[in-house]
Symmetry: C2
Subunit: 341 residues, 2 copies
């Protein structure tokens, strides 16, 4: 099982100093895994010696790439002119079968454009979406799109619903996953024209469509798949991160206020650590570009070692589960059924 790691620019001041040790950690955790780090060999070696890691070889090789995609680069420009970038080479290696999956923490739009151009989309799918499993009461909720498309028409939202539903079937073994459409109210009159049109299409579909849901229902654990356009999904995701962080800070502040609260904090700490571990966004890092003929994962740009290693392991698990093939099979069955009607 081979995964390519694209070493383009990440958000923040990260890059090889995060990705290289994260790769080492993932190799240790997954014994059948091999990694191809795609990027500037000098940078990779510098990061390796900084982290005192053994030199590459065997399950860990460096594949040079002469370019890198910047965070503020237009996807169309990157697609046209960055043919020897880490991202592009990493995806090309998946296309030719040298690798089984690709992980990147770089420019989302460029990753999406290159993956779509090189790997192509599955039958019936116009554009891939970014999907991730978010923590919810009693388990998780698959939410898409989290930022691959800044807008999405009614038809596209339905494609997201189909892909999310198939993913929940594959990953969670749910026979008929419930699908909710994110809106600003549960009443039929709410929402913009796109949302209303998508609502009509989903109501007529053979999906287990549960209707409109509001933002607070994402985490309630009653819906298996939440569908929205990439702008809304991305804002919701990051707002959630921000709230969780503020919550953590306030808890720390209150426990540090007096000597009594510090004592209480000493008692409470092991419990609060468990809460943090269960809510840790790092354990949810690694969002799938679903709808492609291949496994491509997007890591959070601000990922640390733990988070990036998690994204690599998630990619490995999707390869083992054969997610793209299973989604394709479901889509082909659906398309055949539609044609028969």
């Amino acid at each position: 099982l081979t995964i390519t790691i694209a070493l383009d620019a990440m958000g923040g001041d990260f890059g090889p100093s995060v990705v290289v040790p994260a790769s080492a950690a993932a190799l240790e955790q997954e014994r059948d895994l091999s990694l191809i780090l795609v990027g500037d060999p000098a940078l990779v070696e510098a990061a390796m010696s900084e982290c005192r890691l053994p030199r590459p070889g065997g399950r860990w090789v460096v594949r040079p790439a002469s370019q890198q995609v910047e965070m503020d680069e237009l996807p169309s420009a990157a697609l046209r002119s960055k043919k020897d970038s880490s991202m592009r080479v990493a995806i090309d290696l998946v296309k030719v079968g040298t690798a089984d999956a690709c992980v990147s923490a770089g420019n989302t739009g460029a990753l999406m454009a290159m993956a779509r151009f090189v790997l192509k989309t599955l039958p019936g799918i116009d554009r891939p979406a970014i999907v991730s499993a978010l923590p919810a009461s009693g388990g998780h909720t698959h939410m898409l799109d989290l930022g691959a498309n800044v807008g999405a028409g009614a038809e596209q939202l339905c494609q997201f619903a189909v892909m999310g539903s198939v993913l929940a079937q594959c990953v969670d073994g749910i026979a008929s996953p419930s699908v909710g459409l994110l809106n600003i109210g549960a009443e039929e009159i709410k929402g913009n024209e796109q949302i209303k049109a998508s609502h009509r299409l989903l109501t007529e579909s053979d999906l287990n469509y549960a209707g409109f849901i509001e933002g607070d229902a994402i985490f309630r654990g009653q819906i298996d798949v939440v569908v929205c356009d990439g702008f809304v999904g991305n804002v919701a995701l990051k707002t959630g991160e921000g709230i969780a962080k503020m919550f953590g800070e306030r808890i720390r502040e209150e426990f540090e206020r007096t000597s009594f609260t510090r004592l209480a904090g000493a008692f409470a700490m092991p419990v609060l650590r468990r809460v943090r571990a269960r809510m840790d966004p790092r354990a949810y890092n690694g969002a799938t570009l679903i709808g492609l003929r291949g496994v491509v994962l997007k890591s959070h740009g601000g990922a640390d070692r733990v988070a990036f290693a998690h994204a690599i392991r998630r990619a490995a698990s999707e390869v083992r589960e054969g997610i793209p093939d299973r989604v394709r099979e479901h889509l082909e069955t659906k398309l055949a059924e539609q044609e028969a009607v």
Copy 2:
């Protein structure tokens, strides 16, 4: 200081049983306050006897209204045919000067349509926006629009920015509040066409424009005003509520797991209660329909007594601060400056 309370349908199974005791609480807290409860007198009286409240009189009167606006009613239909609804009568009483402000927990779209039709918007403002102060590190952040407009063009987003900026000046006494435009990335290339066009307009404006911000920055306390369209804002707000609720549940679960954690919980409880009090969404209930020639507040549809009483008190405070007049003065100055150029 007189406030009308519109007793139309609320979200959930609430209504007079929440609003009536909340009104009683607000009257007790604010000694210069008088309330006009607008709705079906039989329902109000039933709620009063259920809560064992004294009969109305003096600072607390009931104004009958023969209709009510339903939650799933189209705003345009409500505007046309519900001229004797609680909401409409409550707003009319503000228009004629009998009352200083109106509070409603009903259909947001209808409230917005009626308020705009009856009270009119301020000079230079096409449509009001819903604004609320959300908790942030070291204080709060004013965010708008939270759901009055399902979409907003570039020009409208700029009007929101102006109104939010003036509000932060009035409420917080900040000379030049910083304004951020909510987007899915901080880079210039990110976002849809509306967002990009709005970014250009804001960059040229005389506002203290801080550029694009992402969802997690709402709570970081570095931006005074966050601007977005109502769809995105509403989803972000409700997603935040959902996350905060899940966080609270997980903390409870973990403290109830074993006898040791229950003991730790007993120590930690006073501290966690303070955290909860600081993060309590009820203490942030009551969002202003800004941009109107009058004070209209929207309470969360699922508000309880504490939350609804808070919305009433917030309306009272906006009347005392003379918010609409101060926003109008700022807007007129701005318009005069623009004309002079």
